[in-house]
């Protein structure tokens, strides 16, 4: 770059507009890209690799239990009721959520302390599970017992219990490695199983065991052999069908709302992200305008200098290049600083998520890098072309 040219063109320019525009641009880029990353992560967490359609297609229904009513409703579903539900037009498939009819206790050895607790299990047919973990199959005679717990339970433990008691956080991998002894008893007999968390479910808020195990254990140790299910899981054709709500309300049933709540929370977070992202875009546009104005000012303030430089034999392109090269250096610095900030922030965010038992497969993604580079390139070329146009318009 021609140093003299630089001195002639930049001498009258106060640097503050550029400094503030750069800071604005830096913050705007950071906000926008960070929101983009969080949005992508959220999308990943809520959809866990499955399509939205598949996620929302299942409902768990139970009977409403109300306090203070004089009539006592039997909370279990009976055969006629199940038949009636199955006949509804919106139902694609229906499965029973089997409860345990036997006594169950768990003995867990956590951090040197033994916990003993009463336990309940439920089981749904495999085709209604959102994930089927490895080693989920169970056959009669096995002492190994795979269980699946709701991801919400892990979140509850990490956010609530462990914080209050000063216990360490438990990750998804850690909970899978905790050995649990399960004792089941009934009809004067009992048996021990080596249970292990095989996976986490987003769909059923319960402690699940394989359907085959539940059937076998209820048969053998069940106090009440004809125990009816209290919850049903149904696959619906279209989640948005208003008939679903109408039927459920008129039959005095209720649905598990956790899935809805989760998507509600996701929706709120996405709106906040959207607003922050928009602020980011707004800052970027504002900075872009200030950049353009600053360069325009340089061109218009230096009428004598630019006229003379052109008359000495400089091309308009040479002059624009001198101004733009400063801009390029500025953008390069902004890119580097923003990359460092983003790397730190995204890393921090991901550590926070994994520390709270939320699995993240994504890392600092290429979407982020491409989007960032595209914005920088766009801003650069808008300014470059704008400058060329201003010079041509005012001096030729």
């Amino acid at each position: 770059m021609n140093n003299l040219l630089f001195r002639v063109l930049w001498k009258r320019k106060s640097k503050w507009e550029l400094v503030f525009a750069s800071i604005g641009f830096l913050i705007g880029m950071f906000l926008f890209l960070f929101c983009l990353q969080v949005y992508l992560d959220m999308d990943y967490i809520f959809n866990s690799g499955l399509s939205r359609e598949k996620q929302l297609d299942y409902l768990i229904i139970s009977k409403k239990v109300e306090l203070g009513t004089t009539t006592i409703i039997d909370p279990a579903f009976h055969e006629e009721e199940i038949k009636e539900i199955k006949s509804q037009s919106f139902v694609k498939d229906l499965g029973l959520v089997l409860p345990n009819a036997f006594e169950a206790q768990a003995v867990v050895d956590v951090f040197g302390r033994g916990f003993r607790t009463e336990l309940f299990f439920e089981a749904v047919p495999d085709e209604f599970l959102d994930v089927i973990p490895e080693n989920w199959e169970w056959e009669e005679g096995e002492t190994r017992l795979p269980v699946m717990i709701s991801r919400d339970f892990l979140l509850l433990y990490n956010f609530g219990f462990s914080q209050a008691r000063g216990f360490p956080l438990v990750s998804e991998d850690l909970i899978k490695s905790v050995p649990i002894t399960v004792e089941i008893r009934g009809r004067g007999a009992g048996q021990r199983f080596k249970a292990q968390v095989a996976g986490l479910s987003d769909r059923v808020a319960s402690i699940l065991v394989p359907y085959t195990f539940m059937k076998w254990a209820n048969e053998k140790y069940g106090i009440n052999k004809n125990l009816s299910p209290m919850r049903l899981i149904i696959a619906v054709k279209d989640r948005t069908d208003p008939e679903i709500v109408r039927f459920i309300e008129s039959s005095n049933y209720e649905t598990s709302k956790e899935k809805l709540r989760l998507s509600d929370a996701g929706f709120t977070i996405k709106i906040i992200l959207g607003i922050l992202g928009l602020i980011g875009i707004f800052l970027i546009i504002l900075a872009l305008v200030v950049f353009l104005t600053t360069f325009r000012l340089i061109i218009l303030k230096n009428v004598f200098e630019i006229r003379l430089l052109l008359d000495l034999g400089y091309r308009s392109g040479d002059l624009v290049k001198t101004i733009v090269s400063v801009f390029a250096i500025l953008l390069l610095i902004i890119t580097i600083v923003d990359s460092v900030f983003l790397l730190l922030a995204v890393n921090f965010f991901h550590n926070f998520l994994t520390g709270n038992g939320i699995g993240i497969a994504q890392t600092f993604g290429f979407q982020l890098i491409t989007t960032g580079l595209l914005i920088i390139a766009f801003v650069f070329f808008v300014n470059y072309l704008g400058l060329l146009r201003i010079v041509k318009k005012n001096y030729f």
């Binding site: 003379l308 008359d311 034999g313 091309r315």
Partner: protein, 212 residues
């Protein structure tokens, strides 16, 4: 490079009664010619220089640089002409006040690298400008500024040197030195001179005298 005027008439002089060898006539300046453009003020000497150098276009008729029409040349083409075909000393000098004399010259020399810094200081020495070159132009006398402007015109290749009353503020000694320097540089390039002046003079060996 052949410079030719064909029935050229500045818009400003359109309605006035004028007697001129230039305006409204056929005239050409052949390469290597040394031309004296003579006229009292306000007859359009500087205007002619501006037309030939491509700074102004407010005339009727036509002006040609070799085969190109003066009005049809693109800006980038003009940049090339000013780098390699024509050098100029403006009457109002037109220097960057905030730069030193040397930087004013170097900003031109950088375009072609025809002269290096040492060449420029050597040239400056010949005009008695050794120490003055390092000073800011705004602190220089008019005579010193004029010499900076002359030096700036001599650090590039050219076919034509356009001089618009270039010695108006120089004393006789300095003028002699400048004339000698210019004559040498012009000869080196086998270039032509177009010099405007108010009164007849014998600064160069003119091959052509034109009344503007």
């Amino acid at each position: 490079m052949l410079l030719s005027l064909n029935n050229c008439m500045p818009d400003a002089l359109k309605d006035s009664e004028i007697e001129s060898d230039v305006w409204g006539r056929e005239l050409s300046f052949r390469p290597g010619e040394c031309v004296q453009l003579l006229a009292p003020s306000a007859k359009g000497k500087t205007t002619l220089i501006s037309y030939l150098y491509g700074i102004r276009f407010d005339y009727s008729g036509s002006i040609r640089l070799d085969d190109s029409d003066q009005k049809a040349l693109k800006p980038d083409k003009w940049a090339l002409v000013r780098r390699e075909k024509m050098a100029v000393v403006f009457q109002d000098l037109r220097l960057f006040d905030d730069l030193s004399g040397l930087d004013n010259i170097m900003i031109k020399a950088r375009l072609t690298n025809y002269c290096q810094k040492e060449d420029v200081t050597a040239l400056g020495g010949r005009l008695g400008m050794k120490s003055a070159l390092d000073k800011h132009v705004r602190t220089l006398s008019w005579g010193e500024k004029q010499r900076v402007a002359i030096l700036r015109a001599l650090v590039q290749p050219f076919d034509w040197l356009l001089l618009d009353e270039p010695f108006s503020h120089l004393d006789a000694d300095n003028r002699e030195r400048a004339i000698e320097l210019i004559a040498g540089e012009v000869k080196k390039r086998k270039a032509g001179i177009l010099l405007t002046c108010l009164d007849e003079n014998r600064y160069f060996r003119y091959g052509m005298k034109v009344k503007v």
